[in-house]
């Protein structure tokens, strides 16, 4: 009997271990998958680079020395093609978005390319064009000995092996250079996410805290309170995709009155503000409830009014909890995608502004996965960033609550 019992117990216990083992395995699988796909790509240019390639058009006015020759500093690799007369080398590569590009791998310090001036109208016009390794060449226009303009490069469907010899042979002077700084970065989405976080919190934190105070200090046990509580409970259960529909049907007409047009960060953050309310209210109320009621009683007994007691005694004592609530809200914003797809749009922007659409990091992932060229690596790289941010925030919440626990005990 006892043996059977023992066996039964062991079996049940091992089941519990297996269950937890599965969850741990899933977590590890997710992390390994995301990191192994994205880690290689994750560098400065992805983190802080533009998503859209930046084109640089530069012209050349001064004559170059026709007989100059340049030697590359070190032996270059086989697939690099060198122009000794103009002092640069080019390689045919596949970029982050899986397109063929001709990348500059070396530009000599005295190369005539370095004399290029930006011809694009605007504040940078006439400034020296930046030439450095890593840039792409789209096309080069040069004048040959008979004075005719000739265009060569990738846009002419030529490989570097084809067009560099032509340049070497015929060019008298390079007149125009069309290059681009490669894109595929996430800076724009990062900035948009920060804006979204700031605005969403700006709208939702005051309402959230005030509503929590209402439930904590003012609401009586009556129908209204019951209604408010269960409504907020219900709001927490509304799926985020419904919030995005609310954004379109309810909030968009309102902000349209203030002149907003189209999907925008402001529409996204108002939508998020509503979505965050239940989290904020619940966490804040919990934090308020954990403040010993003797604090409030003492304050009231000393003659402070209710408002003073709330703002000077109760809220400051609950600040750790409220801070945690805000951090949780931030991590929710960073991870949210469905509520933003229709309210902020799916167009990736490099310089987002509050009044126009942009993507948050999470939405950029969604766009990359469903886009014209699904880009797993870049999506994974952004996922790593999101994961690190979200996990760091959750960790901070844990540390904060552990600290305040300690303090409470002391």
């Amino acid at each position: 009997m006892t043996r059977i019992r023992k066996i039964k117990d062991t079996v049940m216990q091992s089941f519990t271990w297996i269950a937890s083992g599965i969850s741990a395995w899933v977590l590890v699988a997710i992390l390994v998958f995301i990191f192994s796909n994205g880690w290689k790509l994750l560098d400065r240019s992805v983190l802080f680079g533009d998503y859209h390639a930046k084109n640089i058009v530069s012209g050349f006015s001064d004559e170059h020395d026709v007989n100059a020759t340049f030697t590359p500093p070190e032996p270059l690799e086989d697939d690099e093609v060198i122009s000794t007369r103009f002092g640069f080398a080019v390689r045919d590569e596949i970029d982050k978005e899986k397109n063929h590009v001709h990348t500059l791998t070396w530009v000599d310090d005295h190369s005539p390319l370095r004399n290029g001036k930006i011809t694009t109208a605007g504040p940078t016009q006439g400034k020296p064009a930046p030439f450095k390794a890593g840039m792409n060449i789209n096309k080069l226009i040069f004048i040959d000995s008979s004075g005719e303009e000739i265009t060569v490069g990738r846009l002419k469907q030529q490989s570097p092996q084809e067009w560099i010899p032509i340049l070497e042979r015929d060019a008298r002077q390079i007149t125009e250079f069309h290059g681009k700084e490669p894109g595929g970065g996430m800076r724009g989405s990062l900035v948009a996410t920060l804006m979204l976080i700031g605005l969403s919190l700006l709208f939702s934190v005051p309402i959230g805290i005030f509503a929590a105070i209402y439930l904590y200090a003012i609401a009586k046990q009556n129908r209204l309170t019951m209604f408010v509580r269960s409504s907020i409970e219900l709001l927490a259960g509304v799926p985020s995709i419904i919030f995005s529909m609310m954004g379109i049907t309810l909030i968009f007409p309102i902000i349209q009155l203030f002149g907003a047009s189209g999907q925008s960060i402001i529409l996204g953050s108002l939508t998020m503000a509503v979505l965050l309310l239940p989290v904020l209210i619940r966490q804040t109320e919990e934090a308020l409830r954990s403040v010993p009621s003797s604090y409030a009683q003492a304050s009231l007994a000393l003659g402070a009014t209710q408002t003073e007691t709330l703002f000077r005694v109760v809220l400051p004592s609950a600040r750790n909890g409220i801070f945690s609530a805000c951090l949780l809200a931030v991590s929710r914003i960073i991870g949210e995608s469905a509520a933003l797809i229709f309210t902020m749009g799916t167009a990736i922007q490099d310089s987002p502004s509050v009044g126009s659409g942009a993507t948050s990091l999470a939405v950029q992932i969604y766009v990359l996965m469903g886009g014209e060229n699904p880009n797993f690596e870049l999506a994974s790289a952004i996922s790593i960033v999101i994961l690190i941010l979200v996990l760091a925030l959750n960790l901070t919440v844990k540390v904060v609550s552990a600290l305040s626990d300690k303090k409470g005990k002391a």
């Binding site: 741990a24 609310m246 049907t249």
Partner: protein, 321 residues
Amino acid sequence: MGNTNENYMASEAKFAKIRKRRRGTDVLFRNLFRIAGVIAAMMVILIIIFVTSRGVRPFLGSAEERVDLKYFLTGSRWRADQGIYGLGFVIINTLIVSVTGGLLALPLAILSAVLITRIAKGKLSIFLTTIVETLAAIPSVVYGVFAAGKITILVRDLANLFGISTYGGNSSLAVILLLAIMTYPTMTTLAVSGIRAVPKELDSASLALGATPTQTSFKVIVPAARSSIATGFTLGLGRAFGEATAVSMIAGNALAGPSWNPFDITRTLTSTMLTGLHETSGIDYEIRFSVGVVLMIVIVSMNLLVHAAKRRLEKKGGAVS
């Protein structure tokens, strides 16, 4: 003496003024708090009103553009290209994948909760809790990337073992697995707090009667925490029904159904909404709001159902004890 009295009178008047002003601030703030509370409470009602008012439009339009409500709710084909909108099979698909996913996660969640609260001690327990919390914190779009890159391929290879071919792994089964993973943390968290809330006496009494710790865990403590576990299950289901981005990446979009074969592609309410809203205007655009309304109704009725079941369970439990 009179001087003092006069002073007192003056300060009394001054204090009265201050008190009055203070009371004014009190009233002001109290109203502000109340307004904030009511705004927060009103949001859910506004959502229901506005989304519904938009969602009924396709059924009210002129005769040629009108969508047949009855077919919309019961139909088994979704052919936007032919103007046929039957959501019935989509509702069934959604129920199948969400409930199966939830049922798959539930035993795992209960077992993990028992391990965390009753078997593992100290650091190990904290470690296991951290795993669950980390899973809960991973955003759904990251789950989507994982699902599209890994789960689908897993399912595809599994199907190949049986000699069944799949749509590149996009299938009900992939969605079920994904939803099981995504609902697991919610259920576990609730189960853990439910088990922790069970009175110590129950534990001691069971042990004193000669039950082993494991027997106690499974036969006394878990049943005692069933209310929390049911709540966790409901919350998990809610998440499963409403999960949009990740599901839409791997569901495939079947044109007709329901999809009973787990290796077949499916179409859920949320995946319909996501592909839909993203692409069109006119009736194709409006109809997604109707799908949203259906989604809300499904979630609410599922909640009510689980609530009813829970109450029934509690009644029975009460009779036993």
